[in-house]
């Protein structure tokens, strides 16, 4: 089997036994990127030289008997919303074109400290606003299962990179589903950790109270390995939690044995029904049955306030984003646009011209929404009210977790839709995140695991598992058990069924 089709854990083993080298593995992935990324467009920036240098350094360490980490030498792709010293960081926006951060995000620093060569930066919706990666200012990413379809968003680049074997691992960020929903529609695994479980320092904030960095991989175990590497307290992020997590890798290995005896699984009533694609629902039901077969006990739970989650989210997110994005003013970095015919323009005019030219429509839409929601006289009715509903959603979770150890739902209501299909209909685009948003509002962790292909279109569907805050290990145990049962049923990984990609498709 080609090295690029192996999981990160398998590559790590091959490196450990000396079967291959990091340089070989890294070069194989760079070759794959060169071959297929013209069609997929998962990457905004590929750092072949840097990655190979880091790979050579990793091989030297291993030769000297001093690898830094189990994943030392396993290459990784990083979503372009994370600051990388010396590598461009655009957040998918023209306004940051050419900006090279002078510092590393904490998670990137951890990757480097563990010796993972960084292949490049992955495509995303501009400032992580979107569910299709079509809002990238640098053009959309294509779904490796069907290049005419979206790879999900905002982290479509990371998910597509992993799904098309351009990278064994990737980092994503999840504000309302941006790791999990792309995972669902590309047949990959994505995890949103507990809020505060992974440092946000160096993550260019979309909505600070919702954002979380997490792993994007092809297997549950790989996610656990990466999650353990990047997680943990960071004094530079005061919202990060100063408390050790239970071992995630152990939980994944335990789950892979297929025994879920005594685990209570709650099916969320509100996250199914009208508007949910039948094929997605069928795969979901089958997965639930597999969990029962593994020994889990299934209960129905109701979270009545979840129906308000989308509205709540679309007040809190734009409010925080409108303030976060104010810093892009052409004064210190990034794009600077001089207003036409105004050689002696004031700073204010330059700011206005730059923001007008540098931000895309979706970003402007949310800045306007957020500015309005925070305005005096409207604050209580919108932002203040949204925070109250948020508290209610947390209470629904608490009540549900009293009845169940984990909660489950389909990750997204549909499989991947066609590029351009929902671009002119923001509301219908927003509905993609219906099932993933509640976890962000409450700060609880969630995972999306592939549940199979929908019968009507043959495209991947995702199974979402949610756990209480700090109980991220439960995601891995249940996720790995489901993955094992499904892989058994399919006779191999789901991605084996994806069509061959050809570099000159387009």
């Amino acid at each position: 089997m080609s090295i690029i089709r192996r999981t990160a854990a398998e590559i790590a083993d091959a490196l450990a036994t000396g079967e291959t080298t990091s340089v070989e593995v890294t070069r194989a992935h760079l070759d794959r990127i060169a071959e297929v990324d013209g069609a997929v467009h998962a990457f905004l920036h590929v750092d072949a030289e840097g990655a190979l240098e880091q790979a050579a350094a990793s091989d030297a360490r291993r030769a000297a008997g001093a690898p830094l980490h189990a994943l030392d030498g396993v290459p990784i792709a990083v979503k372009d919303v994370l600051a990388t010293e010396g590598l461009p960081t655009t957040c998918g926006s023209k306004i940051l074109e050419g900006w090279i951060p002078p510092y590393d995000a904490t998670v990137v620093r951890k990757l480097r400290a563990a010796g993972l060569p960084i292949l490049g930066k992955t495509n995303m919706d501009e400032f992580a606003m979107g569910s299709s990666t079509e809002h990238s200012a640098y053009g959309p990413t294509h779904n490796p299962w069907d290049l005419d379809r979206i790879p999900g968003g905002s982290g479509g680049g990371s998910a597509a990179a992993v799904a098309s074997f351009e990278a064994p691992l990737a980092l994503g960020t999840d504000t309302g589903g941006s790791i999990r929903q792309p995972g669902a529609v590309t047949g990959t695994v994505g995890v949103k950790p507990t809020y505060g479980g992974v440092s946000r320092y160096g993550l260019v904030a979309l909505a600070n109270s919702l954002d979380q960095v997490g792993p994007v991989t092809r297997t549950v175990l790989d996610s656990a390995l990466l999650h353990e590497l990047v997680g943990g307290h960071d004094p530079l992020d005061s919202t990060s939690i100063d408390q050790p997590l239970p071992s995630l890798v152990d939980a994944a290995r335990r789950g892979a044995t297929g025994d879920l005896t005594g685990v209570r699984v709650g099916v969320i009533t509100e996250l199914s029904g009208d508007g949910w694609q039948p094929g997605v629902m069928t795969r979901f039901q089958e997965s639930v049955e597999l969990l029962v077969k593994a020994g889990a006990e299934v209960v129905e739970v109701s979270c009545p306030t979840f129906v308000h989650a989308l509205a709540t989210y679309y007040l809190i997110l734009p409010a925080e984003a409108s303030s976060n994005l104010a810093k892009f003013d052409a004064m210190r970095y990034g794009l600077r646009v001089w207003p036409e015919g105004r050689p002696d323009a004031s700073a204010e005019e330059v700011m206005r011209a730059t923001r007008d030219a540098g931000f895309g429509d979706e970003v402007k839409r949310r800045i306007i929404l957020g500015t309005y929601a925070l305005s005096s006289g409207y604050y209580d009715a919108y932002y203040g009210q949204a925070q109250k509903v948020r508290t209610l959603i947390s209470r629904d979770f608490e009540a549900a977790f009293a009845k169940a150890d984990v909660l489950v739902s389909p990750t997204a209501p549909t499989t991947a839709f066609k590029l351009g299909e929902k671009l002119d209909d923001p509301l219908s685009m927003y509905l993609n995140d219906l099932a993933t948003i509640p976890a962000n509002l409450a700060g609880v962790p969630g995972i999306s695991v592939p549940s199979g292909l929908a019968d009507e279109d043959g495209l991947p569907a995702g199974f979402q598992i949610l756990a209480p805050a700090l109980a991220d290990d439960r995601l891995y145990r249940v996720g790995a058990a489901l993955e094992a049962a499904l892989t058994d049923q399919w006779g191999g990984p789901l991605l084996d069924r994806a069509p061959e990609l050809n570099g000159d498709v387009r």
């Binding site: 960081t89 957040c91 005061s238 892009f328 003013d329 004064m331 210190r332 970095y333 925070l374 005096s376």
Partner: protein
């Protein structure tokens, strides 16, 4: 535009002033409010910056515990309540020297609230109620280049120094100060002076108004006498000396009265204080419609100071200003009037330091309230800003006590100190100011004086000792003041009796 003004007496005949003071105190923490950058004053521009205080994408704030401690100590010294739980908030507005285009501040949940400070003016005590003291970060500093005035209008470009961005500030806001009448300007000045002394005693700030480490904004409105309704206020910014606080209040009272007398209305606006000309000019219009879109800072967790910590900090407070004043007055043996003048001149701390450096209380008071006050007044600054230190003054007094200088020579030493010519001893040596008590030189000068004034000499020979003054004066003149006057007198009398 020249404003029409009403005389201060006429203002008081028709109106009652209401004041509100907002004082920003720059803390002297080693690092900034939300990052580890140093805070030293006067470094090369943009050398004390990092991703956080530059507002680079992705960077996050982390609260400086020492700054929280200083905020709590200031609050306790101002008799405030300390919040059990409070948050930071974002104040959103665009400005080129604001790295994030929002200031991380506190809004409706300040760390300190509901306190007071008693200040004394002309023997009368006024209670200034404190509404809140909250933490925030400073902005960068814009330098407008190419214009005539250093202001943005007319400049051809601007430079921004972000060294100041993120320096911790405590903003102390009073409730409306009412009922001060003609004392309003003095109450305002006394409040800021006493607050400054308190900050110095707490050791939480350099407390240098001339370097901007204490900055006052003065809110003022007038209400027609007897109506009790508050008028429209103006907010005067950049009031950066004690003297200016007093003058700005006085100026705005006169200007408000003139506007109101003419039947026009006061525009609610920010005004700029001009130290040089002693006037305020209109800044931006500040209507209530200005909307900072405050919301809780989502990158910071709430601050919940434990009661044990608060009590620990309370135990570190210096004595309160009223107690301290009473103690010093007793120690120094000052009369009520002497003490009041000392406090009123904003010189209590400097006199205290001068005494600590070796001067007698009366001598310290004499120099600071006399010679130094006169020079400060001429220069339009506070005595503390003259550049003469308490150690200098104490040393000059020691030289006087040792007979090496007289008061007249001492004044020349102060000239030298103000001109930056070195220490008092260096100035005495360089300018040749030492008193001559060498009999050889004095004796020759006395002989010259007797020869030049034979009629005066005759009177003394006849026993009119009082006439000796004229000869002593002539000798002093010849010796350019540097003679030991007592020894000259002895020599004159020896030679003529």
């Amino acid at each position: 535009m020249t404003e029409t003004l009403v005389s201060f007496e006429d203002v008081l005949a028709s109106y009652e002033p209401a004041m509100g003071l907002e004082v920003h105190v720059e803390l002297n923490t080693v690092s900034k409010m939300f990052c580890g950058c140093p805070t030293e004053f006067g470094a090369e521009p943009n050398t004390q910056v990092c991703p956080t205080c530059l507002g680079l994408p992705g960077a996050m704030p982390a609260v400086n515990r020492k700054a929280v401690e200083s905020a709590i100590r200031i609050g306790l010294a101002l008799n405030c309540q300390i919040a059990e739980w409070c948050r930071f908030a974002r104040k959103n507005y665009f400005y080129p020297d604001m790295p994030k285009n929002f200031q991380t501040s506190q809004y409706d949940e300040p760390i300190c609230f509901e306190g007071y400070m008693d200040v004394e003016v002309d023997g009368e005590t006024f209670r200034v109620e404190i509404e809140r003291a909250h933490m925030e970060e400073d902005t960068g500093k814009s330098l407008h280049v190419g214009g005539a005035t250093g202001r943005i209008h007319g400049a051809d470009h601007s430079l921004v120094d972000y060294n100041r961005a993120g320096i911790p500030l405590i903003e102390i806001v009073t409730k409306p100060i009412l009922g001060t009448g003609d004392k309003a300007p003095l109450v305002a000045k006394a409040y800021v002076a006493q607050l400054r002394d308190l900050i110095v005693a707490l050791g939480v700030s350099d407390a240098r108004m001339d370097q901007g480490s204490i900055r006052a904004d003065v809110n003022l409105s007038l209400s027609p006498k007897g109506t009790g309704t508050l008028g429209t206020r103006t907010e005067t910014k950049n009031v950066n000396s004690l003297r200016s606080v007093e003058r700005a209040v006085r100026y705005e009272m006169s200007r408000h009265a003139a506007v109101l007398d003419s039947g026009r209305t006061i525009l609610q606006e920010t005004r700029h204080w001009h130290e040089d000309t002693g006037v305020t000019t209109s800044g931006r219009e500040k209507s209530d419609a200005e909307d900072y879109r405050y919301f809780p800072e989502p990158d910071l967790v709430p601050i919940a100071p434990t009661r044990a910590w608060v009590e620990e900090l309370r135990a570190t407070l210096p004595e309160n200003p009223t107690q301290k004043r009473a103690r010093l007055q007793a120690e120094w043996g000052f009369s009520d009037l002497e003490m009041r003048d000392t406090v009123g001149a904003g010189a209590m701390l400097i006199v205290e330091e001068t005494i600590a450096a070796g001067a007698s209380p009366q001598a310290a008071r004499k120099w600071w309230l006399g010679e130094m006050a006169r020079r400060a007044n001429e220069a339009g600054v506070e005595v503390g800003e003259l550049g003469v230190t308490p150690v200098d003054v104490a040393r000059v007094q020691v030289l006087v006590d040792e007979g090496k200088l007289n008061d007249k020579l001492a004044r020349q030493v102060f000239d030298g100190l103000l001109a930056g010519e070195g220490t008092p001893d260096e100035i005495v040596a360089a300018r040749g100011l030492g008193i001559v008590s060498d009999d050889g030189a004095l004796s020759a000068a006395v002989d010259n004086a007797i020869a030049a004034n034979p009629d005066v000499a005759d009177k003394i020979r006849e026993g009119k000792v009082a006439a000796a003054g004229a000869l002593i004066g002539a000798v002093m003149k010849e010796m350019r003041g540097q003679a030991d006057a007592a020894r000259v007198r002895e020599l004159v009398l020896e030679k003529l009796q």
